[in-house]
C-alpha cells in the first residue's frame, strides 16, 4: 500500500457515507465523493496533518457520451511534503442542476480552474468569488461547449457567430478586472485609464 491508498482508506474511515467508491486506474488512486459532504472531505484532506494535500494540481470535469452516466468534477490533489497524489471525483446527475461547493477557500489556485469548468461544462461552483466565463467571451450565448450534447460547430449559424464575435466589447474584456490587475490600478499606465468596468457608464 502506498501513501494514496492510506489516504483513501483514512478518508473512508473519517467520511464513511460521503465516500461513494474507491478505485485504482493506471496506478492512480481515485476516490469518488458524494456532492453533499465533498467540501468537508476536501478540507480535511488539505488540513489534516496526516494527509496534507496542500496543492491542487488540476480541477476539471468529464462529460461521458452515455447520457445515463453522471458528469464528473475531478480534483487532482498533491501533497508536496508527502509526495503523494490523489484524484477525487464528484459525480453529478446530469438531469439535475450541476452545482458543487467551490474549493476556492481551500486552494486559491481553484479560481480560474473553476471558472474554466463553469465556462465549458456549466457547473456552478457555490461560493466562488467571481464565477464568470474565462475562455469564451462573457456574452457568449450558445451554451457550454464541452458538454457532449453541444454540436461541434455550435448552435448558431456562422454569420450569427461572426456578428456576435464582432460585437464583443474589447475594452471590457481586457479590463484591469479581467486581467486581475485592479488592485494595482493606481499605478497603471495612463492608457488603461477609463478601462475599468467599475468606471464604465451603466448604460453601456
Amino acid at each position: 500500500m502506498n501513501g494514496a491508498d492510506h489516504s483513501a482508506e483514512a478518508l473512508a474511515r473519517a467520511f464513511g457515507s460521503t465516500v461513494l467508491g474507491r478505485a485504482v486506474s493506471c496506478g492512480d488512486r481515485i476516490v469518488a465523493l458524494a456532492c453533499e459532504g465533498a467540501h468537508d472531505a476536501l478540507a480535511w484532506l488539505k488540513d489534516d496533518p496526516e494527509q496534507a494535500f496542500d496543492y491542487l494540481t488540476d480541477l476539471t470535469a468529464v462529460d461521458y457520451r452515455d447520457p445515463e452516466q453522471p458528469l464528473e468534477v475531478v480534483y487532482q490533489l498533491r501533497s508536496l511534503r508527502r509526495k503523494v497524489d490523489l484524484r477525487v471525483k464528484i459525480p453529478l446527475d446530469k438531469r439535475e442542476t450541476l452545482e458543487v461547493d467551490s474549493v476556492y477557500d481551500l486552494w486559491k489556485g481553484a479560481d480560474w480552474l473553476e471558472r474554466e469548468v463553469y465556462d465549458m461544462f456549466g457547473v456552478v461552483f457555490r461560493g466562488h468569488p467571481d464565477l464568470r466565463r474565462i475562455l469564451m467571451w462573457e456574452n457568449y450565448a450558445e451554451g457550454f461547449p464541452l458538454r457532449k450534447d453541444f454540436p461541434l460547430r455550435g448552435h448558431f449559424s456562422r454569420a450569427e457567430q461572426t456578428r456576435q464575435a464582432l460585437g464583443i466589447d474589447i475594452e471590457g474584456h481586457y479590463s484591469p478586472e479581467e486581467l486581475s490587475l485592479v488592485e494595482a490600478f493606481q499605478g497603471l499606465h495612463p492608457d488603461l485609464e477609463g478601462r475599468r468596468k467599475a468606471d464604465a457608464p451603466e448604460d453601456a
Partner: protein, 210 residues
C-alpha cells in the same frame, strides 16, 4: 521602363565631364508606376501571429530567407504605421474584433495576406470557436496555402501581392474604399459568410449534432 537614366553618377570610371553632361538628372515615368513601385517595395507588415504559421513567418523574416530583400524587414507593431496585415495562424472568434480593430486602425493604402490554411479557411478547426477564414472579418488580398506554408510559400504570396500592387492605378478610387462593419454588425452579407464557412473536405463527414 527603367528608373535609372544612363550615366548615373557614381559608376566606376565615369569621367567628370560625362557626369556633368547628364546632370542634373531627370527621368520621365507615369505617376502610377512610381507610386506602385515605391509602395510595392516598402510594404511594412503588421504581423498578426497566432499559431505555428507565425514560426514560419519568423523564419521568413530571419536571415536565411531575409524578408528585407522585399523592403519588409521593418515589422510594424503599430497598425497605424503598417501597410500589410499578415494573419499568420488560426483566428478564434474571440480575436475577431481584435483583428478587425487592427485593420480599421491601419491607414490606406493597406493590404492583407491570409497565411496558412487556418487563416484562409479555418483549416482543421471546423468547430464552435474558430473563424472559418479571416475573409469573413477583413478583406483579403492574397491567400497563402499550406499547413503551415514554408517561407518560400509566404515569399511567393508576398511577390504576388507586389504584382497586384504594381497593377493598381490611382485613377481607381474604389481600391482605397474602406470596407467597414455595417449597421448589421457584419462587413459581408450573412449569406456570404455562411457560404464561405461551409464545411469542405474531411469536415463534411462531421455532423452538426454529434
Amino acid at each position: 521602363m527603367g528608373l535609372m537614366p544612363k550615366g548615373t553618377p557614381g559608376q566606376e570610371g565615369a569621367p567628370a565631364a560625362e557626369i556633368a553632361a547628364v546632370s542634373p538628372n531627370f527621368l520621365t515615368t507615369t505617376l502610377d508606376f512610381l507610386t506602385n513601385w515605391s509602395r510595392a517595395n516598402s510594404l511594412w507588415p503588421m504581423p498578426f501571429g497566432t499559431a505555428c504559421c507565425a514560426i514560419e513567418f519568423m523564419a521568413t523574416a530571419a536571415s536565411r530567407f531575409d524578408l528585407a530583400r522585399f523592403g519588409m524587414e521593418r515589422m510594424s507593431f503599430s497598425p497605424r504605421q503598417a501597410d500589410v496585415l499578415i494573419c499568420a495562424g488560426r483566428l478564434p472568434f474571440k480575436l475577431a474584433p481584435v483583428i478587425r480593430r487592427i485593420w480599421d486602425q491601419m491607414p490606406q493604402p493597406k493590404w492583407c495576406i491570409s497565411m496558412g490554411a487556418c487563416a484562409s479557411s479555418g483549416g482543421i478547426f471546423d468547430n464552435y470557436a474558430m473563424v472559418q477564414g479571416i475573409d469573413t472579418i477583413v478583406p483579403v488580398d492574397v491567400y497563402v496555402p499550406g499547413c503551415p506554408p514554408r517561407p518560400e510559400g509566404l515569399i511567393y504570396g508576398i511577390m504576388l501581392l507586389q504584382k497586384k500592387i504594381k497593377g493598381e492605378t490611382l485613377a481607381d478610387s474604389s481600391l482605397r474604399v474602406e470596407h467597414e462593419v455595417g449597421p448589421d454588425g457584419l462587413f459581408l452579407p450573412p449569406e456570404r459568410i455562411d457560404e464561405l464557412s461551409e464545411p469542405f473536405g474531411n469536415s463534411v463527414h462531421q455532423t452538426r449534432s454529434a
